[in-house]
Symmetry: C3
Subunit: 214 residues, 3 copies
């Protein structure tokens, strides 16, 4: 867990991770407010959106207790994001486009960090790439399910594919023995780029035609 | 798990825990019947409402298999509650107000016991307080999600705050080196009191105004 | 995990497990297509329907990482099923009745294999029987919850009872010291038979009358 990252990379990696958590938590808070949840509901959705992906990954690789539970900074930053949403929801609305850019950056960070953590835990390349993706998309899925909406990531948007591209880059880099920081940087950038292109050009994945398909 | 509580406190603690499970399981069965689930659905919701909070806590702290799985008494008491609901649903309706009192007592017990178990597992104070709360509210959340309702605890009622007050009391008592039974008793009573006041006075947490907030 | 099955039973057991995963994954893909999810959503629901039961069991017994994550064949077979659904959904519709037979066979396999794995992990008989059932029905439950439907298994159909009969047979066989392959075969057949009868005769579990029950 966190300890294994200390002391050298402590400041940078943890800060990046917390920044990603904060941005994701904002989206959780926004969803909660739109659904008219009370203050506690806002904080729970903030925490879930920011941390459920990482918690799922940690449970599946046996990193218990999950870092988001064990390190109180993740709880604190999620609560902060929830309170920001609760008191300045209009601000969020006005900045939504810029926050979407931050969200894409957070997705890249989470996908890459998740894949690396899975590799360190000894998982095989396929599993590591998938768990990196889960780290990136899990929070949004739990956020949506808590307000009984079909997760947006299952329905539209090139979101999971971007995360998978980022996490796969880390895994491929590991197979090719590239220095981890390099493949992490390339993976995060690739994820970010795909996500931004998808937003700009309104790219979507195909949907099967259930009615009159041959 | 259970073993660590034996032999001294076995009877009292386990009985209290099973009593709490039974009361929570009643609420699960009631929800299932209102949603017109079949007998199996009633039993599943009874088990989920009574045990999902504790199972979540155990998975997150690495107490595997969770005590609710390993000790068959939890399954048995949950099934009993489900059958009671299935055959005497009208009785439950008539006694609903009195059962709400029992539910508040169960919440206090679960929050306090959950926080203590997390502390024993070596979690930090913030995490232990949160996991105590999760132990108390998790069952109701899973119960609601299984019938695709937004968990009531996210929407209204001073329920989670009461649980958090109870679990935090245990954690603070631990920091101050108070004897665990004392802080547990105070925490459970505090949770119960807050919950009963909230019901009597219809206290709720605030909701953000998403439409015209500045 | 997988290793413990090798080398003797590797081919047969793994092939049966993968076949069950494939059939369950088909049902996940079909649900996703009916709900108009995109290609990624189809693959996620295929994977969830095929593997969520086994993953839940593995997390609860501490078999980490879950075999469905660790062995990439489970991912591959699930994706294959999702793609089959995506491109030949009409074929699935035409063969639905025959696939229901395969689904009943898969249920028997999963329930029996899940109970055996739980017994090997040292769980008590009640827990092992329940976890066998969870292995069989968990995938379908998560599939339904991901598209915010109340799990069909909670509402109607003699599905869970069939799984429980199969897993209980394995557990009873273990208590009676019968050779595992025999009780497994009997259990799987029993589950299959109950399920097929239930489909043919339209058997259902009772529903409590919430309105005018005395």
């Amino acid at each position: 867990m966190m300890n294994s990252l200390q002391p050298l990379q402590f400041s940078t990696l943890l800060l990046l991770d917390l920044a990603g958590t904060f941005v994701f938590a904002l989206s959780g808070g926004a969803t909660a407010i739109r659904e008219r949840l009370d203050l506690f509901g806002v904080l729970v959705l903030s925490f879930a959106a920011g941390n459920a992906g990482g918690i799922t990954r940690d449970v599946l690789i046996g990193a218990i207790p999950p870092v988001a539970i064990q390190n109180w900074l993740y709880v604190a930053i999620s609560i902060l994001a929830g309170l920001v949403m609760f008191f300045w929801f209009q601000l969020y609305r006005r900045l939504r486009d810029r926050i979407l850019v931050l969200d894409a950056a957070g997705l890249g960070l989470f996908a890459v960090a998740g894949a690396q953590k899975a590799l360190v835990a000894g998982l095989n390349p396929v599993a590591a790439a998938l768990l990196g993706m889960v780290t990136g998309i899990g929070g949004g899925m739990v956020r949506d399910l808590l307000v009984t909406q079909v997760p947006i990531v299952l329905r539209s948007e090139l979101y999971a594919v971007a995360a998978l591209a980022g996490s796969s880059t880390v895994v491929i880099g590991n197979i090719l023995h590239l220095p981890p920081p390099y493949s992490a940087a390339i993976g995060a950038l690739l994820c970010f780029a795909i996500r931004m292109f998808a937003i700009r050009r309104n790219w979507n994945l195909p949907i099967a035609d259930a009615s009159n398909q041959e």
